[in-house]
């Protein structure tokens, strides 16, 4: 018995109890992933809602023989990247200036307080480009192994491996830039 498959079948018939079942099991992971990818709570909330709307509309395209999670994340990822591309003029793989953590105004003091509160790692993570945050979130928070990581990103395994390496290297650079005397531990 696969609860995801059963709830997807209910949703396909227009029964919204299927939706609440799917949301109950996947909403936390999905929201966390979108927050890491978008770096902005308002954007994450908007894409969260759009994702479930699209899931409901396209549930007939979901193959019940496959796990629901990767399909859900693929829908969310496409929506999030479209949203980010519309908002950003620069590439999703690069960021020129460190961004403040989500919800924090561009105030040096507030940024420093947030950094202390959320930790150096979190602050450095917020400063990364969206695609860097995404690959780190998928590997370290969603605990995806390399093959699953590559599948979620829609790239070959060597490419996923290279992205993971670059994201870690950039994270280390951010931490060193933020506090050179403290190193990157």
């Amino acid at each position: 018995m696969d609860p995801d498959r059963d709830d997807a079948a209910r949703l396909r018939r227009g029964d919204t109890s299927g939706l609440t079942g799917l949301m109950g099991r996947h909403q936390d992971r999905l929201f966390r992933y979108l927050l890491r990818l978008a770096g902005d709570e308002a954007v994450a909330e908007d894409v969260f809602q759009q994702t479930w709307l699209q899931v409901a509309e396209r549930i007939s395209r979901y193959d019940g023989a496959r796990p629901f999670g990767p399909w859900l994340f693929a829908v969310a990822r496409n929506l999030a990247l479209d949203h980010l591309r519309r908002r950003r003029s620069e590439s999703l793989e690069e960021v020129d200036e460190p961004a403040a953590p989500a919800g924090i105004e561009s105030d040096p003091l507030a940024h420093a307080i947030a950094r202390e509160r959320t930790g150096r790692v979190a602050a450095a993570l917020f400063a990364l480009a969206p695609l860097d945050r995404e690959v780190l979130a998928l590997r370290f928070e969603e605990d995806l192994a390399l093959p699953q990581l590559a599948q979620t990103l829609g790239v070959p395994v060597p490419t996923a491996k290279a992205r993971l390496y670059r994201a870690l290297a950039r994270l280390r650079e951010r931490m060193l830039a933020a506090a050179p005397a403290e190193g990157w531990r």
Partner: protein, 155 residues
């Protein structure tokens, strides 16, 4: 420097090395204090990434999302019903037109025999009646569709 595995240490901490690479790193770290020290720093960073706070969606967001999906599903169901109803009406109308013509043709033949007169113009009048009926129905459907669209619904 030759032999050092610094390029692999980040991926080692991420658990992303293949078995051959992992074995090479493990063997090197046993003999290289510098790389072992850097490996420990990467592991610490990886542990920090794994302990990030895990935000959850608010109840309001979840409720809003469920309500939005329910509304969208209701719209889809209404559109599907409207399409089915329209398809049934079109099929019914064509069936009725064909059956009516057969009946008219039957009656026309009987009356012509009894009255001894030609009923040829009847066919033209019947064709005109059917065409007028279809044009009227089409105009009504267009007007209904426009009104529904102005009300924010689609048919």
């Amino acid at each position: 420097m030759s032999g050092h595995v610094t390029d692999l240490l980040a991926l080692a901490a991420a658990g992303a090395l293949d078995p051959a690479e992992a074995a090479r790193v493990e063997a090197h770290l046993r003999d290289c204090a510098a790389c072992a020290g850097e490996a420990a720093q990467w592991r610490h960073l990886a542990e920090g990434l794994g302990r990030m706070p895990s935000p959850r969606p608010s109840r309001a967001l979840v409720a809003r999302t469920v309500a939005a999906v329910e509304e969208r599903l209701a719209e889809h169901a209404e559109r599907a019903w409207n399409r089915a109803a329209l398809g049934f009406l079109v099929a019914f109308a064509w069936t009725l037109a064909v059956v009516a013509w057969l009946l008219v043709d039957l009656v026309r033949g009987e009356l012509a025999l009894r009255l001894g007169s030609s009923m040829a113009p009847t066919a033209a009048w019947y064709a005109a009646y059917v065409i007028a009926g279809w044009l009227t129905a089409g105009a009504a459907a267009v007007l209904l569709g426009r009104r529904s669209h102005e009300e924010g619904r689609t048919v």
